[in-house]
């Protein structure tokens, strides 16, 4: 009986509030209809621009980025394996070989100085190499340049009196000086460079040669 009376009381209350509820419901229905029509036109625009019917809201985007960050922190992605360098590929193309060749460090060339004294040449005094130049940036893979020729041998070839100078059999491994050997493999002499004497010194060539043209001048 009490429930019946409560329902009766609610019924009176709802009858009073019913018009207001219906007005609000009709308002929401109209708002929904306008939103539907507006969304219909927007969806046409979204269709031709390739977007979704309901684009992602900024809050949803923040949430997605946050979840992706958490997921990435929980399961870190494995590092991609480095691709093995291509080696020993048989090819007949020289340019491809040069291209595929791994870049090498620039060869360090330490030019040797000529011994300045006879003792230095004969007793193998230590000849300090010149300080190496500053390392140049690694060049493009090019054919390996030939090392600079030994200054002694160059001296032999470039000397004006090259015909008079004895030919060296090999270079002394200690000071890179040409060494003369006989048939019994005995060291005969060590070539003595003359230095950079551009002037013509008559005394130096006084008893030097027995052949050739004598161009000495008389005082």
């Amino acid at each position: 009986m009490v429930d019946l009376l409560k329902a009766f009381g609610r019924g009176i209350l709802y009858v009073i509030l019913c018009p207001f509820f219906l007005v609000v419901l009709a308002l929401f229905a109209v708002i929904g209809l306008l939103a539907f029509v507006f969304q219909l036109f927007k969806s046409i625009f979204y269709f031709f621009t390739g977007q979704k019917f309901f684009p992602e809201l900024p809050e949803d985007k923040q949430l997605r980025l946050k979840r992706e960050a958490e997921e990435a922190a929980r399961n870190p992605q494995p590092q991609p394996q480095q691709q093995a360098p291509i080696q020993n590929q048989q090819t007949n193309n020289v340019f491809e070989e040069i291209y595929n060749e791994q870049p090498k460090a620039a060869p360090v060339v330490t030019p040797m100085r000529e011994p300045e004294t006879v003792e230095q040449a004969c007793f193998q005094e230590e000849v300090k190499p010149e300080p190496a130049p500053a390392p140049a940036p690694a060049p493009a893979p090019m054919p390996e340049p030939e090392p600079e020729s030994e200054p002694a041998s160059n001296e032999l070839l470039s000397d004006e009196n090259a015909d008079d100078a004895p030919l060296a059999d090999f270079l002394d491994p200690f000071n890179d000086q040409p060494v003369m050997r006989d048939e019994s493999n005995e060291i005969l002499e060590v070539y003595k460079p003359r230095g950079n004497n551009d002037s013509f010194d008559a005394d130096e060539y006084e008893d030097d040669t027995d052949s050739g043209v004598d161009i000495r001048f008389d005082d």
């Binding site: 329902a7 019924g11 009176i12 929904g32």
Partner: protein, 222 residues
């Protein structure tokens, strides 16, 4: 003495008044029960709002009541469109049917609910215009007091086929749409309640005079 109290009622009048009183009570009780069911239904429909906004709230993307109401409004209108588009489509089909009929017949005054070539052919129709079914109370009030004569029995009419499509489509689509609108209203009310409740701070169980229990890092002073 008040003349209204001097009205002499017959035994038949008293029975009629008691019957009317019972009918009114039953009507109000039914309205109360229906209203309670509607409120319960709207609470159930409003729970969908929790699903829509819970992710951004629990992840602290939304931090103020204003942001929550704004975000919930966007989500609610999208949910409404998802729910209501089928109802709107059904209504459009019904309206298109009756428009096609009117264009074919070239009769734009057609009433789809009439009892001759409309949807009324499928319904029972009574003639309430017969004055013989009414009785006069207290000398001036006319109250129906007899069964009206049956004016139409359900029957199928071929020319009313258009209204057979139109009326069900409009009724079903309209009901569908109004239920979706009711759910939209329920979610909006729920969003307003949530915006007040989620960020609410309560000091009900807080007592500043109660000493704070020591933590593990702090030595206990004795």
């Amino acid at each position: 003495m008040n003349p209204a109290l001097l009205i002499k009622m017959t035994e038949n009048d008293k029975r009629v008044i008691i019957a009317l009183l019972f009918i009114v009570i039953i009507i109000f009780v039914l309205i109360g029960v229906i209203g309670s069911i509607m409120i319960r239904t709207m609470k159930w429909q409003g729970k969908k709002c929790d699903t829509l906004v819970s992710d951004v709230v629990t992840n602290h993307i939304v931090t103020t009541p204003h942001q929550l109401r704004k975000y919930a409004a966007k989500k609610n209108i999208r949910q409404f469109i998802k729910q209501a588009w089928i109802g709107i489509l059904i209504i459009i089909v019904g309206v298109a049917t009756i428009l096609i009929r009117n264009a074919i017949v070239k009769d734009w005054t057609y009433d789809p609910f009439n009892t001759t070539n409309g949807f009324g052919t499928l319904l029972f129709t009574w003639d309430f215009s017969d004055p013989e079914i009414y009785a006069t109370f207290f000398g001036k009030w006319k109250v129906i007091s007899d069964w009206p004569k049956l004016a139409n029995q359900p029957h199928f009419a071929v020319e009313a086929i258009w209204s057979y499509i139109y009326v069900p489509c409009v009724v079903v689509g309209g009901t569908w749409y109004m239920i979706a609108a009711q759910a939209y209203l329920a979610r909006t009310i729920r969003a307003i309640k949530l915006s007040k409740k989620v960020f609410e701070k309560s000091l009900d169980n807080f007592d500043q005079n109660t000493p704070t229990p020591p933590t593990n890092n702090q030595p206990v002073q004795q």
